[in-house]
């Protein structure tokens, strides 16, 4: 197993993410056909960062695009739940409203422009997200409500769990790993690392942010 801070791009990236502590631990396991990658992300105070989006792209070769999925972006207590969702290109996302009050969803992000007229319950068909990019959602009734859908073409993707962890089985090779959370305050909002994983390796990547997240917008605090 080699962990390489690739000189060409990574140098610039390193500059851009100055101050982010990066700890890489290599653990050797019994040989296997595939390798595994485990990522753990901590906030500046050591607590885990949940809902960070991880995308893993192969470098210098192509892997099959991930299969589209069905996902849900709920609305509870006048907040979008979850705040961040990652789905492959072509996925269908439903927008149930679990509140007793109506919501009215819109996005004018280039990756997907749409609106769902005033509704409660689950009256609409899921929305298909067919272009890669970040889609920012708002509610036209409750101006503080905001959520993000990262539509990705990366073959490996996910969000960190409550423990700040995410892991995947993947073929050996050279990968670019991207970590993103909309309220991260590092010098670049996206953290990118490259690493090469040999067959049978278990790579563990631990990232600790240097700054606390921006607070989530709260109901009624808008000007």
């Amino acid at each position: 197993m080699r962990l390489s801070a690739r000189s060409n791009r990574a140098l610039g990236i390193r500059v851009a993410i100055t101050g982010v502590a990066l700890l890489c631990t290599l653990l050797h396991a019994a040989p296997a056909a595939a390798a595994s990658l485990a990522i753990s992300i901590q906030l500046a105070d050591g607590k885990p960062l949940a809902d960070a989006v991880i995308t893993v792209q192969p470098v210098g070769r192509k892997l099959p695009a991930p299969a589209p999925i069905h996902a849900a972006m709920d609305q509870m207590n006048r907040m979008f739940v979850p705040e961040v969702l990652v789905v492959p290109v072509g996925s269908a996302v439903s927008f149930p409203n679990s509140d007793s009050v109506s919501h009215q969803i819109y996005s004018f992000s280039p990756a997907k422009r749409f609106q769902l007229p005033l509704y409660r319950g689950k009256p609409y068909a899921p929305v298909i997200f067919d272009h890669a990019g970040i889609v920012i959602l708002g509610c036209n009734i409750h101006d503080w409500m905001i959520a993000y859908i990262d539509v990705t073409d990366a073959p490996f993707y996910g969000t960190t769990n409550a423990q700040g962890a995410w892991s995947a089985q993947l073929p050996a090779g050279h990968y670019q790993i991207t970590v993103w959370h909309p309220r991260m305050r590092e010098q670049t909002p996206t953290l990118v690392r490259e690493l090469a994983i040999d067959s049978g390796d278990r790579a563990t990547l631990t990232l600790q942010l240097t700054k606390p997240l921006r607070p989530a917008p709260m109901e009624g605090e808008s000007y």
Binding site: Y106, I141, P215, S222, Y223
Partner: protein
């Protein structure tokens, strides 16, 4: 207006019935106070005290009883009604502090338009961000926001255009706001006579406020005398959850020479500028600094009488876990007289300390201490105490809220 307040329960029950059908938001809120005060009778009651409650009012009091409804009317309109009852009442025991229609088309190309028509607060305060224009930090509002609550309200139209940077990849939104209004030509009358006070009683639309040292007299801030519309215009920058910066210019454009001959009241020309900043940190700290400076004038018989005023505060607040908050605010305020007599002159400062505890299920508890030190020319003359007077008021508020938000 009396008819409107009499109809309020009917309107409220109709809208409550409509809640299930249309997804209206509603909130019913009861706020009871245990009060200990050493202040003279409040200016609100025609006395001289700069606090809401006086020594005589120490004991159990009604802080506020509030019913608010926010109901969609079709796809792009909504109606907001905010009715409250206070223990100080003049015309009616229940009144509407805000009532407006809002038009809210879908944002397009990063621009969001909001139009309001009716009666509502001009966007000056960065302190009164809770429902019903209450403060999430303290019970008593700062001096300048207490004055707005007392006699400044927009009865007219407001347009706000937001450029939504946060819906692209920028961390902030920028807003431009403009309002046109009438029926606020007595705004300034209570300030020039009674000075600033620190309280949380909001004058209902078309209701009255007390006059310093005149228990039987009233001021009606919401009157139109000369038929000229007033306006305000402002700018704001907001990074949600982190930073808000605002600036606003207000001018009610009343003709100070105009008077209602029948009722012997003058139009008060009131102009002010305000600027404010609110900073929030992920660690739970909030800092608000707000300033307002302006003047109010009348010209009875062509003789101009002018009172400049200036008020500012700094508020520090810290969330302690998810259920507690501790806040401290320092206020300074000043009313001057440019006239031959110093009537209306006042200067002072105030410290407010509040601890809030939210045990959940709709309940909340707030303990607040307020200490106001002020000199008022008229009070000094009338009470024979020309120097600064310190008034102290301690309140424990027990609040219970019910509503569609599922408290």
């Amino acid at each position: 207006m009396r008819a409107a307040t009499a109809l309020l329960p009917l309107i409220a029950s109709t809208l409550l019935a409509a809640t299930a059908a249309h997804g209206a938001d509603w909130e019913l809120d009861l706020d009871l106070r245990a009060v200990s005060s050493d202040a003279k009778a409040s200016v609100l009651d025609g006395g001289y005290g700069p606090t809401r409650f006086s020594e005589r009012q120490s004991g159990l009091r009604l802080g506020r009883l509030r019913l608010a409804l926010d109901t969609p009317l079709g796809e792009l309109w909504k109606l907001h009604l905010d009715a409250s009852a206070w223990d100080h009442s003049y015309r009616s025991s229940v009144g509407l502090t805000e009532a407006y229609l809002q038009f809210r088309p879908y944002p397009r190309n990063h621009l969001r338009l909001r139009l309001k028509a009716g009666g509502f607060y001009a966007p000056v305060s960065l302190e009164n961000g809770a429902g019903g224009w209450a403060s999430p930090y303290t019970l008593s509002y700062s001096a300048l926001n207490s004055w707005l609550a007392e006699e400044v309200r927009t009865l007219g139209l407001e347009a706000k255009v937001d450029w939504l940077g946060t819906r692209s990849d920028l961390p902030f939104d920028v807003s431009a706001i403009a309002g046109v209004f009438g029926w606020n030509e007595m705004a300034g009358a209570a300030l020039a006579s009674g000075g600033f006070i620190l309280d949380d009683r909001q004058t209902p639309l078309f209701d009255q406020v007390g006059r310093l040292g005149s228990p039987d007299a009233r001021i009606e801030p919401f009157r139109e005398i000369d038929g000229r519309a007033g306006y305000y215009g402002g700018l704001a920058l907001e990074a949600p959850g982190r930073l808000v910066l605002t600036a606003l210019h207000y001018d009610n454009r009343a003709n100070p020479a105009a008077a209602d001959a029948l009722e012997q009241v003058f139009a008060w020309r009131t102009t002010f500028n305000s600027a404010a900043a609110r900073l929030e940190y992920g660690t739970g700290w909030t800092v608000i600094a707000q300033w307002m400076g302006g003047l109010t004038r009348i010209a009875p018989g062509g003789t101009a009488l002018v009172w400049p005023f200036d008020a500012r505060y700094l508020l520090l607040s810290r969330r302690l876990g998810s259920r507690q908050r501790l806040s401290v605010r320092y206020d300074r305020f000043l009313v001057e007289s440019r006239n031959s007599e110093p009537d209306g002159e006042q200067r002072g400062n105030a410290w407010t300390v509040a601890y809030m505890f939210d045990p959940g299920k709709g309940w909340s508890l707030t303990l607040e201490g307020l200490r106001v030190t002020s000199s008022s020319y008229i009070r000094g003359e009338e009470l024979g105490r020309p120097g600064p007077v310190t008034d102290t008021q301690v309140q424990l508020a027990i609040r219970y809220a019910l509503g569609s938000a599922g408290y």
